[in-house]
């Protein structure tokens, strides 16, 4: 798990200067940031149809959160890993939420999903609180959440296929 992050403490973060934002507000999740072993920060974000997806409603199932944006070359390789995981484990309850941290419109999301034929949801992730909660500096960031409603692993910006597979199995098979 060489690339996994361990979160030690909540940073003192001031305002992000990202202008604009999506229509759906992220749900306040308290002062802490995403931390291995802890429940994930909550959010409620829209997909391209305007449907709001609440992380709180999904907890209890194994979940992968995948943060990306349009100019990340390496991110597009991880999409292949996600598709394989979806094909193998969707039947066992695996839920994949992809979050485009630049996206602020339905068209933005729809074009990305169409380009890669994503069989799972992409959310409008240009949301200040979301970026603070998950400490998004580099993308991709991949967060694995288990059935125990806690974060098992966080990988930022690089993941080996073996680490990805092991992380998926861990959250799917851990009853």
């Amino acid at each position: 798990m060489s690339a996994a992050r361990t979160r030690w403490f909540a940073p003192l973060l001031l305002a992000f200067l990202f202008a604009g934002g999506v229509a759906a507000a992220a749900e306040a999740s308290g002062a802490r940031v995403a931390t291995v072993g802890e429940p994930p920060p909550l959010f409620a974000l829209q997909d391209e149809e305007g449907q709001v997806h609440r992380l709180a409603d999904l907890l209890g199932a194994p979940i992968i959160l995948y943060f990306t944006q349009n100019m990340c070359h390496y991110c597009t390789q991880v999409i292949g890993f996600l598709k394989q995981a979806h094909a193998a484990y969707a039947g066992q309850g695996l839920t994949i939420l992809t979050l485009n941290v630049w996206a602020d419109s339905p068209t933005y999301i729809r074009r990305y999903r169409e380009q890669f034929g994503l069989p799972f949801v992409m959310l409008r992730g240009k949301e200040r609180q979301l970026l603070l909660d998950y400490e998004v500096n580099y993308v991709p960031i991949i967060v694995f959440i288990g059935r125990d409603r806690r974060i098992h692993r966080i990988f930022d910006h690089y993941i080996l296929p073996a680490d990805f597979d092991a992380s998926v199995r861990e959250i799917v098979e851990d009853k």
């Binding site: 060489s2 690339a3 940073p11 003192l12 973060l13 001031l14 305002a15 992000f16 200067l17 990202f18 202008a19 944006q69 349009n70 100019m71 990340c72 070359h73 390496y74 991110c75 597009t76 630049w102 419109s105 068209t107 933005y108 074009r111 990305y112 169409e114 380009q115 890669f116 400490e135 998004v136 500096n137 580099y138 993308v139 991709p140 930022d156 910006h157 690089y158």
Partner: protein, 352 residues
Amino acid sequence: MPWDGRECYPRRTFLRLAGYGGLTLLGASLWPRRGWAAVDPAAVSRMEIEVCYRTEVKGLPRDATRLHLWMPLPPTSPSQEVHDLTVRSSLPYEMREEALFHNRMVHVESGREPASFTVEARYRVVRHRAAAEPVARAEASAPRYLRLGGRMRLTPEIEAFARHAIGGATDPTQVARRVYDALIDTLTYDKQIAGCGTGDTAWIMKSRRGKCSDYHALYATILRGRGIPVRWEEGFPLPYPSAGAVAEGTLAGDCTGAHCWVSFFDPARGWVPVDVSEGDNHPELRDFFFGQLTANRFQISEGRSITLSPAQGGEPLPELAFAYVEADSIPLIYPANYENFVQFRVVGMETA
């Protein structure tokens, strides 16, 4: 000039070069052909580089109606001269300059047809070993050199780090050197990072690692926070002449292939160049990279949080190194919709 469809370097040449076996150094895929004898990089006073910068748009979203492409062009400065610029495009283009940093660029606007096209700029850069560059105080004190934009934030943790590093120093060069040393001693250059960063100083200070944009975002934030103007310079890294006897190659055309450095302003010296991350990566050049830059690079733009000309529909760009393409104000997806190729060939080098 109408584009004749030829590639920068014919593909058969690349196949032949690839047959020599590829290397990877600083994100560059390199095909050794003409070797250099081992040279002290600090002794290189001048490099002459042929560049072919090519962007291929290869597919648009099905509902795209209006497309804009911006390709940055390198500036002329005391550290570099740009010669023999030619632009080739299968679509009409215009030369533009944005208002804040005066970055030059090629701009192409198109409807949804053709769905694929190529824009190519060729030029020859003469790059000099950079040193302090006289400049008027009024010019260096412009707000763009002092403001904390984008994710450059002075958090309490960064303030505490800066206070400890700077101590009682007040002279700009002394302050800048102390911060330079403190960052090199604190941060780790993370070669594992394959993605695209924003230069979020809070993240950098907490994680204590990063790449060039992280080092320099934190460096610029601390100095600007002390009222010292800092100029951000974006460009491309070339191989060190003593590192692998490599004279040509192709740089990764995504966000990972570029390099950046900064200059701080000292009224007694002018713009003083600094490369903190290279100072960390090359301990033998630590003193050199505070006040000088090796010639194995070239600059493509200045500044961060860049609004293009004409203005893009999306957010200001964190840095401007690579061509950027939008359809209906939404960024195209790299590399699915377009790709950049920055090919270089070092054709001359002098030592002094």
